[in-house]
């Protein structure tokens, strides 16, 4: 009998009995939850007229107002409704010392009014497009819907230019963008927005947690001196190796799901669960992807699971080769550190490949990356290319791990 099931459970037990795994997970949970503590805490927003409200109250007002206009197309009628409400609110407050939060003085107090009335989320969507204008507040208060849609397109063109996108690549994205660029429906998706912003931090943390959890998968057998009895047993070679790999992959995937799940629950619990069907532009202002927020997160979460497998297999590969847990963690931390740097766009293929680094491409900003990989006449975007590369890495590393473990010899101690 190969006893794969029993060996798998035992390998899971070996990983989970490490205290450091639980300590790190607990630190992560506390760290992520503490991100929202100021929201539910005592922190108050004080307004220029002397009134105040808690952050939680401000979110509640924003949610109510935003949900009342959710599902409406961004057109002149919706813009005017917001402006009329703001003007009415500010009508008797001309002497307020409050100024706009940017260069403009044309419409002082509109952000104060937006927060009081709950229009801040909607107004931020407008600001995201007009933010670089000379007077963004004026644009927000006076532009037509047509101007807004032209600005969306101009911003997209600017992003293309900034990234050095070729004409062919531009044509590829414009085709995707067509149909979505002149007909945007507002949806309240603040929960998803808050969840999306630090997505890459979840991936970094998962990367470190997986590294700590699995660094000893192979090397600890040497440290515990259990390698001799394992390797001399009937199932001590291939079955044990496969059990270790499956257990490691399971732990990594569960850890990734836990980290993502906890953060999703915290963000959606605080800001509201709405926005799954919102157009992606609601949380990624310069995107050409004509998909919903839900579709974008489905893609990100699936890719995160793929990446958890990559992290797991790579960690176990290092554990197998180095034979020392600390060496594995040191290498992983070095990789993590190097991945913090970015390579400028003008470095061609190197910078494009660098975008696919483990902690680089799994975030909402990748939906605003437009450089493509041309392979045999077909274009692959960063997500597709990342998936292909990482699946190749997994497929290459697993046989190497199994082969070297099968022929592993005991080192002198």
């Amino acid at each position: 009998m190969s006893n794969t099931g029993t060996l798998y459970k035992m390998e899971l037990k070996k990983i989970l009995m490490k205290k450091i795994v639980w300590i790190m997970l607990a630190i992560g949970i506390v760290m992520f939850i503490s991100n929202v503590l100021p929201i539910i805490g005592e922190n108050n927003i004080v307004f220029p007229d002397g009134t105040s409200m808690s952050v939680y109250e401000a979110i509640r007002i924003q949610k109510n107002t935003s949900e009342s206009i959710s599902g409406k197309k961004i057109d002149d009628s919706l813009l005017n409704k917001m402006r009329n409400d703001i003007r009415a609110f500010l009508a008797d407050k001309e002497d307020l010392p409050y100024k706009g939060r940017n260069k403009s003085d044309t419409y002082p107090g509109i952000w104060f009014a937006a927060r009081k009335l709950g229009y801040e989320d909607f107004m931020t969507k407008l600001y995201n497009q007009f933010g670089d204008a000379d007077d963004p507040n004026k644009k927000i208060m006076e532009c037509t819907a047509g101007e807004y849609y032209r600005m969306v397109r101009d911003n997209l063109d600017y992003t293309f230019e900034n990234e050095g996108v070729t004409e062919e690549e531009k044509a590829f994205w414009i085709q995707k963008f067509s149909g979505s660029g002149s007909d945007i429906t507002y949806e309240y998706a603040a929960g998803w927005n808050e969840f999306a912003d630090p997505f890459v931090i979840y991936i970094w943390f998962a990367f470190l947690l997986i590294s700590v959890s699995l660094a000893g998968t192979f090397s600890e057998e040497n440290a515990f001196r259990t390698d001799a009895v394992i390797l001399s047993a009937k199932n001590g070679r291939t079955p044990v190796c496969l059990a270790k790999l499956w257990a490691g992959i399971t732990v990594a995937a569960v850890e990734m799901v836990l980290i993502i799940g906890i953060n999703m629950a915290v963000c959606l619990g605080t800001y509201g669960i709405g926005g799954w069907n919102a157009p992606l532009i609601m949380i990624a202002p310069y995107t050409a992807w004509n998909i919903t927020v839900g579709q974008a997160f489905t893609l990100l979460i699936w890719l995160s699971l793929v990446m958890s497998v990559v992290f797991a297999v790579f960690t176990m590969f290092l554990s197998r080769l180095s034979g020392k847990s600390m060496a594995v963690i040191a290498v992983q931390f070095a990789i993590f550190f190097i991945c913090l740097f970015s390579i400028p766009n003008n470095q061609g293929l190197i910078s494009r490949l660098w975008e696919i680094r483990p902690t680089g491409f799994l975030n909402i900003y990748t939906f605003m990356e437009y450089r493509l990989f041309k392979i045999r006449g077909s274009y692959l975007d960063v997500f597709q290319m990342g998936t292909v590369i990482y699946i190749i890495i997994i497929a290459a590393l697993i046989p190497v791990i199994c082969h070297t473990y099968k022929h592993m010899q005991i080192k002198s101690r």
Binding site: M1, N3, T6, M10, K13, V229, S232, K234, G236
Partner: protein, 235 residues
């Protein structure tokens, strides 16, 4: 049934640990004695297939022939290494169940064998305690239990009595003598008294070579005296 060592050699960069060792080992208890550094552990590791020889072969013959690298060979092998390791947070019973799974025993047989062996090695009452709470002797007894879980045809015991008290040594010797009736038991030690009462055959090792290979009965004198005389003669 025999285990054939044919010109087995292990050479490290600056030292020959085992030097062209040959022997045909039949069922019974074989005492492998030699000073520390004689090459006993290296030889045993090669017999267990966890250390690749520089030259020579290890073959098990029992009708058919099995090479040391085959799964079927490992299926009939039991091994207690000199530096027997364990998982500190595992309970004794869990560790044995894990070893049983490694050795290919089905769940029912594994449970029966574990209970039986825990009783034999006197760990019944400590079976559900974590191994990190065990004394040195208890860990060694657990190691002995795991080695015989699969009723091995070849049983390799490297310094098995380390850490055992006198009473445990006697109990252990009886167990080994019993196992030696049907299996090839190689018991390595540098303590001569460990093997003199139970070994059918003695292999003396020095500087990677056998300096004596013969039946215990042929020695005709106290084994320890004989051991010292053989070593002195070599010097």
């Amino acid at each position: 049934m025999e285990l054939v060592l044919d010109r087995l050699t292990k050479q490290y960069s600056n030292k020959i640990a085992v030097d062209r060792v040959s022997a045909r080992l039949k069922p019974g208890v074989i005492g492998l004695i030699g000073a520390n550094g004689a090459g006993k552990t290296t030889l045993m590791r090669m017999i267990c297939g966890i250390l690749k020889p520089t030259g020579g072969t290890v073959t098990f013959k029992n009708g058919s022939q099995l090479d040391v690298s085959e799964e079927m060979y490992r299926d009939i092998l039991g091994y207690l290494p000199q530096d027997f390791g364990y998982y500190p947070d595992f309970r004794g019973r869990d560790f044995l169940m894990y070893m049983a799974a490694l050795k290919g025993l089905d769940k029912k047989t594994a449970k029966r064998k574990c209970d039986e062996l825990l009783k034999i090695v006197n760990l019944e009452n400590a079976a559900d305690k974590k191994i990190k709470t065990y004394s040195g002797g208890m860990k060694q007894r657990l190691g002995i239990a795991q080695a015989v879980l699969n009723d091995p045809k070849i049983l390799i015991l490297d310094e098995p009595t380390a850490g055992l008290d006198l009473k445990e040594r006697v109990r252990f010797r009886n167990l080994i003598a019993e196992l030696g009736k049907d299996s090839i038991v190689i018991l390595s030690t540098h303590i001569v008294s460990d093997v003199e009462h139970i070994a059918d055959r003695i292999l003396m090792m020095k500087d990677g070579q056998f300096i004596y290979d013969g039946e215990c009965d042929e020695i005709g004198m106290d084994l320890e005296e004989f051991y010292l005389r053989e070593f002195d003669r070599e010097v």
